[in-house]
Amino acid sequence: MLISVEVNGEVVTWDVDPRETLIDAIRERARLTGAHVGCRSASCGACTLSLDGLTVKSCCLLAAEADGRTIRTVEDGRTPPEVDDIQEAFIAAQGMQCGYCTPGMVMSVRHLLAQNPDPSDDEIRRGLAGNLCRCTGYVNILKAVRAVRDARLGR
């Protein structure tokens, strides 16, 4: 079935299978491989994308359901190694080890800081509750988010 979606500002048309998930379409059709497939059960958050301005776990969303909607991915028009301040902070604080969860983390941090520019540690934890990291123990991830928060607020 034909669907039309806006991905990172560009409108594309795909002929998708009715049972194809959005993460598969984004990775294989748009060749945007920043978002990862982790659990396929709406648990780990590695596949987090923004759909009409809200973060979603794209492994548990059919591509067909995104018809006519607006998607933003971790790339968001940037070409590697170009990164935003959040990605830079993750690198500086070493907020990753294997890095598999990082693209999903970055998406959640973008939304968290857009909604709440000055989150407390507890609010950061709640904002990232849908993104699992099995390497870091989250300490350096928290450091990275605090660093972006403080830099954006000029602290």
């Binding site: 809200l54 067909a64 359901e65």
Partner: protein, 269 residues
């Protein structure tokens, strides 16, 4: 059989798709993980995402009407909910995580009817009604009669939940508690107390296949109420490997005490 996908735009269009074979897709937070694992069949998928009539939260007389596709995020942050059914906002805010709350819906949770699910217990205590539609017409069911057993509801294969209506608790006292082992996972026990000037109800979910209900008068004896919860849990035990039935039964009593004390504005234990 090749799969098909339909995304009707209106309620009448939706009803024509519901032939008893269709798999209804709301937020997908329960069914998509199952389909991804190959559990359950979905030859004909009918999405509710494109139907504006199923969205929204609004006052409806003395009740609040939730469109079946109202998401947990919307319910957690809606000013009407905060004023008229605050325990539903509390329940919504505790479900899953940000991304899950952005997709998961009140209609989906009601249709799944899982033991101890946050809304299942809260809606039971609140005396909610479920509005259900099919080609055969529409009907309203009291929520405590809608959930029949563990993940078993009164919804027929050709029916869809259109809305959930919840009486306002404005002027009363209410409390909700969720007890969980791992953040993001389904709760072990949920408890809700609704104390209105003329009636009261306690619901405790998770220790039994469907919530334990204790009707409360204007005055009630705490110890006797907790004994009634305990007895009901003993009568139809429910448990799993992580949380066996005797443990759930003990926690049901504890969390019943917490919500009753909290609703009566006594010191929490």
């Amino acid at each position: 059989m090749p799969a098909s996908f339909a995304a009707p735009r209106t309620l009448p269009e939706l009803l024509t798709e519901l032939d008893g074979e269709a798999t209804i897709l709301a937020g997908g937070m329960t069914i998509m993980p199952l389909l991804n694992r190959g559990i359950g069949r979905a030859g004909k998928i009918v999405s509710l995402s494109g139907i504006p009539a199923l969205r929204g939260i609004a006052r409806s007389g003395d009740s609040v009407r939730f469109g079946a596709m109202a998401t947990h995020s919307e319910i957690a942050s809606d000013p009407i909910v905060a004023e008229h059914v605050p325990i539903l906002a509390t329940a919504a805010a505790g479900i899953g995580d940000v991304q899950v709350r952005n997709r998961g819906t009140i209609g989906g949770v009601a249709a799944y009817g899982n033991a101890g699910a946050d809304y299942v217990t809260a809606l039971t205590a609140l005396g909610a009604r479920v509005v259900v539609a099919s080609r055969r017409g529409s009907r309203e069911v009291a929520f405590d009669r809608f959930v029949l057993g563990l993940r078993r509801t009164d919804l027929a294969r050709d029916e869809v939940i259109v809305a959930v209506e919840v009486p306002s608790t404005s002027g009363g006292r209410t409390a909700f508690e969720r007890y969980f082992r791992v953040q993001g996972a389904a709760p072990t026990i949920t408890a809700a107390a609704v104390l209105m000037p003329d009636r009261g109800r306690l619901a405790v979910g998770g220790a039994t296949p469907t919530p334990v209900i204790v009707e409360l008068g204007r005055e009630f004896d705490l110890a006797a109420t907790l004994d009634a919860v305990d007895e009901a849990c003993a009568g139809r035990p429910f448990g799993d490997a992580h949380n066996p039935a005797p443990y759930r039964r003990a926690m049901a009593r504890n969390f019943a005490a917490r919500v009753l004390r909290h609703a009566r504005e006594e010191q929490p234990c």
